[in-house]
């Protein structure tokens, strides 16, 4: 058990803190390394959009900028106060919804993103691996070749483009699904079947986009993995010993090929999150992506910084969770 702690758990935790540190440090430093002076840029952009706000409000914003970018005092003082803010989950007020705090907006929008992202990431992983595994076991069958053609043609399409195509056909042309939003206009969320169906109907197309494009990637990798595992001795002996084919596939082949895919899942979470953000914009789904879109359109830099910081925290925590689940699935890690 000690060995497990030392060789598995501790390195994961170190990696977690390293990623959080690296990401948030990038958020802090990247804007400062640019040739443009961020404050002047943002205040300039903001004054174009922010007509109608009184001078005092603008001053508060500029002050928050200065503090967030830490342009008062030396850079290590600024860096220190940046971290203190993060720990207090305080990113200052949002500008376009002044004076709502950025943290409050994030708490309102993040659950929507997590809902479509987590569901579709998990389903894509599960279905992609199972279908890919079976297709890899029977590579010559006609349905397996058809799946190949489909997956190869779909895989390189960008999330935005694929989402747009689904939107055009299923929402504009055939009107099977709503054009956008998270729930129907004027409907409030209640614990009822009607409300649940409404939410599912609105999240169906964004989820389908993520499910298909992520799933196709897992399908490919799993297929290659299974083609390797299939040739191993234990599979050949099982088959020779008369174990039923479906039992061989599920218990011998899939179980062994799935494990590297769990590690792959941890590495892919950042991409799934980015993808979810892009897809939300296509469907104007009320998650972090749409919030980001508005923040950029209104030059709300406080909000952009807040979204970046919270996204990094969310993604690295999810990666850590997957890493912690892994030993439950792979006994070799537990009893080393």
């Amino acid at each position: 058990m000690m060995k497990f702690l030392k060789e598995y758990l501790v390195p994961r935790l170190i990696q977690y803190f390293f990623v959080v540190f690296l990401g948030l440090t990038l958020v802090f430093f990247v804007p400062r390394l640019l040739p443009q002076d961020p404050i002047r840029e943002i205040v300039g952009q903001f004054q174009q959009h922010g007509a109608g706000l009184d001078a005092k409000t603008v001053e508060t914003m500029v002050a928050t900028f200065r503090e967030l970018f830490g342009l008062s005092g030396s850079w290590h003082e600024q860096y220190w106060s940046f971290w203190k803010r993060i720990i207090r989950f305080d990113f200052g007020p949002s500008f376009f919804r002044f004076p709502t705090p950025v943290s409050e907006l994030l708490l309102r929008f993040l659950p929507w993103t997590l809902w479509i992202m987590l569901t579709s990431t998990f389903l894509a992983w599960l279905l992609g691996n199972i279908i890919g595994g079976i297709a890899g076991y029977f590579p010559g069958r006609r349905w397996s070749r058809l799946l190949d053609v489909f997956s190869v043609a779909v895989r390189p399409i960008p999330y935005y483009t694929f989402g747009l195509i689904l939107l055009i056909f299923f929402a504009y042309t055939w009107r099977l699904f709503p054009l956008g939003g998270g729930v129907s206009v004027g409907r409030s969320i209640t614990f009822s079947v009607a409300s649940l169906i409404d939410i599912l109907r609105h999240s169906f197309l964004p989820m389908l986009t993520l499910l298909v494009l992520n799933g196709v990637g897992w399908y490919h990798q799993m297929k290659l993995l299974v083609q390797n595992v299939k040739g191993e001795d234990f599979v050949r002996y099982a088959k020779a010993g008369g174990v039923k084919p479906w039992w061989v596939i599920s218990q011998y082949v899939l179980r062994n090929a799935m494990l590297p895919q769990v590690t792959g899942l941890a590495l892919a979470i950042g991409q799934s999150y980015s993808a979810a953000i892009i897809v939300e914009i296509v469907f104007s789904y009320p998650g972090v992506g749409t919030l980001l879109y508005e923040a950029i359109a209104r030059a709300d830099y406080n909000l952009i910084m807040g979204i970046a910081a919270v996204s990094i925290l969310t993604v690295s925590t999810l990666v850590l969770i997957v890493d912690l689940i892994y030993p439950l699935l792979d006994p070799r890690v537990r009893y080393r």
Binding site: Q15, L26, E41, P139, V152, P156, T161, A266, L267, G270
Partner: protein, 276 residues
Amino acid sequence: MFWRNYDYKLTLGVFFLLSLLVLALLSFFSPYDPVKWLQVQRDLPPSWPHILGTNSKGQDVFWEATFAIRNSLIIALIAASVSRIIALVVGFVAGHKGGTVDRMAMSLTDGILVLPLIMMLVLVASIMKGKLELWGLGILLAFFGWPWDARTIRAQVLSLRERDFTKTSILSGKGTLAIVFGEYFPHITPLLFSTVLNNMTWSISSEITLAVLGLNRLEVPTLGTMLYWAIRRQALLLGYWWWVFTPVALTIILLIGLYFVSIGLCESGNLTLSRK
């Protein structure tokens, strides 16, 4: 069964890419300025002489598209070549040196890999809003686009390092650079080309994302900004399908072309490796 599929993919991919290259080159003969508005009658459906119609900005969609492909390809090529340098250096050093250097390089690579990169791109692009030239955008994408490929190259170098010919060269006293260029490079080349193409795919998709968020120089036509204007001007609701479908179709053809060539190269690369 791979070898049966491989031929048609490579051929089809090369065909797609060449056709788009011809389109991109046509932009040099365009009768219109790609940046100016109101050069032709607005919102015309496809017909002669505007074979892909015109948009609400008063531009010919076909000629605008030739510029868009050219610019998107330029961005992707810059991003792919610059990120190749980073990926090669990190991959070779980590794979060849091994040990602590390898572990440090890989935790940095994995660290960047698990970050939601879109947020980093947005962060930079929102400060540089509207000022990013094509090359600036290329370099920005290169800066975040190398980790996957550094990992791939490292894995390959790691396996090459264990082969007999590498050990022979080390024992016969060859320097590190001689081994890297003389022994590793020829084996890495097919893989390297395939990572270039994959990276171009990633760069083109990321460009579209940034454009749709309104973070590019929107007056410069790219596949992303074409789509941005079409969506922004409600081409979907107004039924100007030619305006939306042109960039969508071109993006898909371009990316499928890149992907097919990449798969083809990778598979032919394995073939030569395994024959040796």
